[in-house]
Amino acid sequence: MEFRTLIIIMMSAALVNNFVLIQFLGICPFLGVSKQLKSATGMSIAVIFVMLLATAVTWPITIFLLQPNGIGFLQTIVFVLTIAALVQLVEITLKRFMPALYSVLGVYLPLMATNCAILAVVLLNINNEHSFVESLVNSLGAGLGFLLAMVIFSGIQEHLENADPPACMRGLPIALFSVAILSLAFFGFTGVVENLFG
């Protein structure tokens, strides 16, 4: 598969059907952790890191282990367990070998276990029958989309601190309305990726 389709997959996962803003995946951490730019970027890098790793591990398992011997329905359990184990493994190795990186990502790694976005990416890769490289690129695109949405939303969250919505709208509701406006902005990219690279 040449370079062009890879770019299309990645850009469409990042912009056109952005995981958080269009497909509603990973909203809990998105709303919770994006109060400051530092924690937002830390979280997003952790998400990209674990997404790539999870895809790299789960794709071979399904293709070579599950599907040949017809136990594809075990997919869900296997994926969830591998992600949880992976997160634990990564946390230990990072703490041991790369303390600097750990100080940035370490706090968010346990959150990955219950993060819908990561499981979703992995499941989508299998459902859309992507090849190994395509699914890697797809999760990279999804991660970048998550990073883009998180970083922009952390800017808005800081702006929201100066806004004074009505009493019952403070906190989550006003954040949700801001995300609604943000996802409106992402609608503009429909069609751009296909024509630009297609």
Partner: protein
């Protein structure tokens, strides 16, 4: 002995007030309004009137309901109404215009705390909401649907590729072409823009950066640069929408970056996007980036030493 007022310095203030500025913007919008009525007939005035009335009503009702100080007097709701109307085709059903005004005033502006507190431009966001919610109504440009060819905007014609049916440059400049109410007459918009610049309500940075980038990029891509300037909502967006105070950066360099960003996104969407018109999406996306632009282009205080954080 009369009681003296003891208040903090400075004790003299410039005469300009917020409502004075907003009045200037309304005056600047009048030429475009007159052009719209001349080109599209009396229904243009009806649509604008309905939009302005509903915007003012929604703002008044919201503030009354929540017992806030009524700020309808600063004409900002009137401007949002006019700008929203200028972004709509003349044949738009009135209930959709009222819904758009509701979204613009309540969802985008008042919920965040009224004037100055919103991060997205109310008129632009409402236009996009309507553009996505009522695709059919937002795409019929002539009041009575004349044959399909002539009732398409220049940008749609370019996208379809039949360049023969494009109106001449003079029509584009005067505005006798298909398009939303306020965006067609380039002449009227330029008059308004010059008035705003003369009254120092807006600075040249955003419009010039925006239009300049679009001109340069379309020239590079070779899709009729001069034509693109007058087509679509570029002039209306660059002069009136992108320069909206709370949703654009406050520093000079910030405004230039904002303008260039809007220009780049507009050309990307116009050249390759699914929608023919990219100005509104470009402005909304750049509005969302304004907190970062403000942070990046913080002015360097005279003598301020950059301490390592």
């Amino acid at each position: 002995m009369t009681r003296m007022i003891v208040s903090f310095a400075p004790h003299i203030r410039e005469r300009v007030t917020t409502s004075r500025i907003m009045l200037d913007v309304i005056i600047a919008l009048c030429p475009a309004f007159i052009a719209a009525v001349l080109i599209f007939g009396p229904r243009a005035a009806l649509v604008t009137g309905v939009c302005v009335a509903s915007c003012v009503f929604f703002e008044w009702a919201y503030q009354k309901l929540l017992k806030k100080t009524i700020t309808v007097g600063d004409f900002s709701a009137v401007i949002t109404g006019m700008l929203l109307a200028f972004n709509l085709p003349v044949g738009i059903p009135l209930w959709q215009a009222i819904f758009g005004s509701g979204v613009a005033i309540i969802l985008v502006k008042q919920l965040f705390g009224g004037i100055g507190k919103n991060f997205a431009n109310p008129a632009i966001t409402a236009r996009i909401v309507m553009f996505i919610s009522f695709p059919a109504a937002m795409a019929t440009w002539a009041p009575i649907p004349v044959d399909a060819i002539s009732s398409a905007t220049p940008l749609e014609l370019i996208q379809r590729g039949d360049l023969a049916a494009l109106p001449g440059m003079w029509d584009m400049f005067i505005g006798t072409r298909m398009g939303s109410l306020g965006e067609t007459s380039a002449l009227a918009l330029l008059i308004g823009g010059i008035y705003l610049l003369a009254r120092r309500v807006i600075t040249w940075h955003i419009p010039v950066a925006f239009i300049g980038t679009v001109f340069v990029l379309t020239a590079l891509l070779g899709i009729q640069p001069t034509f693109q300037l007058f087509a679509g909502g570029l002039l209306l967006g660059a002069i009136f929408m992108a320069t909206d105070y709370p949703t654009s950066p406050q520093t000079r360099t910030g405004r230039i970056i904002f303008g260039i960003g809007c220009g780049v996104l507009t050309v990307i969407i116009r050249a390759w996007g699914a929608y023919p018109e990219g100005v509104s999406f470009a402005i909304l996306f750049m509005n969302v980036l304004v907190p970062f632009i403000n942070k990046l282009t913080m002015t360097k205080p005279l003598g301020g030493i950059k301490k390592k954080p």
